[in-house]
């Protein structure tokens, strides 16, 4: 309770008095202090995001909603509002612009991911079908698919004879992630599939993959992935960076599963939650970087 009261007073009054006081002493505004005080990355960008968000100035708050083409102009406006002279602080403009690229980029990444998730897998669409068959060929290069609807799909971990019903709430996003992993980290993906087909410790490769897409998606949606993207992508994060993160989860989950030696596949949700908590704990570290350590092919 006392904590809440303090937080209320701090956020609505003391923070401004404190900022004003420090500004008088150092001659620098909060954003300048953030940009010069921290290296590019999650700490700097997160602090800048908070500072802009809680600003009383509309120009500063609106910068968070700007499109990437307008960012340079936004930074100029902010410098004008805050009376920052480019000659005195030559690196400020570039630093703040990078922060804004990362902050607004995260939001637009979520929008693109959401679009793909909402796109339902449709057997009538050649593009979707081609992608599905490509997944088979990448994972099972020596085995030919006998027909489009076949029990063979079970060999790469779909539930029934036709994978189309397995994408469900993750839509095309689930398939694209599966294909991305198999295409860019073919050896790693086949190794994971090999583990998944273990008679005792096995799991269903494809549907666990779709489940991990859900994990990646909900981490993105909640904002939990911000530190990861702010640290690893010094610019606007793109869809491929989200697919990369999926690859990390797919590979690491497999390692985790094999090490835990679960009793049977029925324990999946228990271990999924355990893995999920582990990932969330990693994301608390300001230096977090969830990057797959195996090298992509080529």
């Amino acid at each position: 309770m006392l904590g809440y009261i303090w937080q209320y007073f701090y956020a609505s009054f003391f923070r401004y008095w404190l900022k004003w006081f420090i500004r008088q002493v150092t001659g620098k505004c909060e954003l300048q202090r953030i940009c010069s005080g921290y290296k590019p990355g999650a700490t700097r960008t997160t602090k800048a995001e908070y500072s802009l968000q809680s600003s009383k100035n509309k120009v500063l708050r609106n910068a968070l909603q700007a499109s990437s083409d307008d960012l340079e102009q936004c930074v100029d406006q902010i410098m004008q509002e805050k009376n920052v002279k480019a000659q005195k602080d030559p690196r400020f403009k570039e630093s703040l612009q990078l922060c804004l690229f990362q902050i607004t980029g995260y939001k637009s990444l979520y929008a693109s991911v959401e679009d793909l998730r909402k796109e339902v897998f449709d057997s009538e669409k050649l593009e979707h079908e081609t992608m599905l068959l490509k997944l088979w060929d990448l994972l099972m290069p020596t085995v030919k698919l006998e027909s489009r609807v076949t029990k063979q799909w079970g060999d790469i971990g779909f539930q029934g004879d036709d994978p189309k019903t397995d994408f469900r709430g993750m839509g095309l996003l689930g398939l694209i992630n599966l294909v991305f992993f198999s295409e860019n980290y073919t050896d790693a993906a086949r190794q994971v599939l090999f583990h998944a087909n273990h008679p005792k410790l096995g799991y269903s490769y494809a549907i666990v993959g779709i489940n991990l897409t859900e994990m990646a998606y909900s981490l993105l949606k909640s904002g939990a992935l911000k530190p990861h993207f702010y640290n690893t992508i010094l610019g606007k994060p793109e869809l491929q960076h989200f697919h990369q993160l999926y690859c990390y989860l797919a590979y690491e989950f497999d390692k985790f599963w094999v090490a835990e030696e679960p009793e049977s596949i029925m324990q999946f949700n228990h271990y999924r939650e355990k893995f999920h908590s582990q990932v969330k704990a990693q994301l608390q570290d300001p230096n977090v970087s969830l990057t797959l350590t195996v090298h992509p092919k080529n």
């Binding site: 539930q159 029934g160 469900r168 709430g169 689930g174 596949i265 029925m266 949700n269």
Partner: protein, 182 residues
Amino acid sequence: MGLLSILRKLKSTPDQEVRILLLGLDNGGKTTLLKQLASEDISHITPTQGFNIKSVQSQGFKLNVWDIGGQRKIRPYWRNYFENTDVLIYVIDSADRKRFEETGQELAELLDEEKLSGVPLLIFANKQDLLTAAPASEIAEGLNLHTIRDRVWQIQSCSALTGEGIQEGMNWVCKSVNAKKK
């Protein structure tokens, strides 16, 4: 009556726990149904690997609902969850006519299980929101439900997506539990 005595009274009549088993083929809609029962978001559902469990309060009961994955590979594990089941809910995708035979076989096997003998059976003829869905009466006939003599049963058409029909089904569940416990 003071607040404390009300609390005490509430505590002295804890909700009766009911174990409900949710089975059926993959892509039948079991998890969507479970999430609807718990009033949770149903837009991000993925295939169930293993099982999900949720507890829902309803009509003085605490319903512990076990949603077990339906893919062929894990059907052999279904039997691990039979013990102490109060009601069996079997979910059918009414629009997936190609698999009516398969779903009928799985149901017939369940009804032969000793550990499930006499357990009330509710069949949800799900996905009635789809134009191609078969009506509950047709499914009942196809599954020869009228030949079931060893338990009470009911077929209820529903759409787990829109929520239609679910409450009616759950009312039947609570009624049959009441009848059984008396």
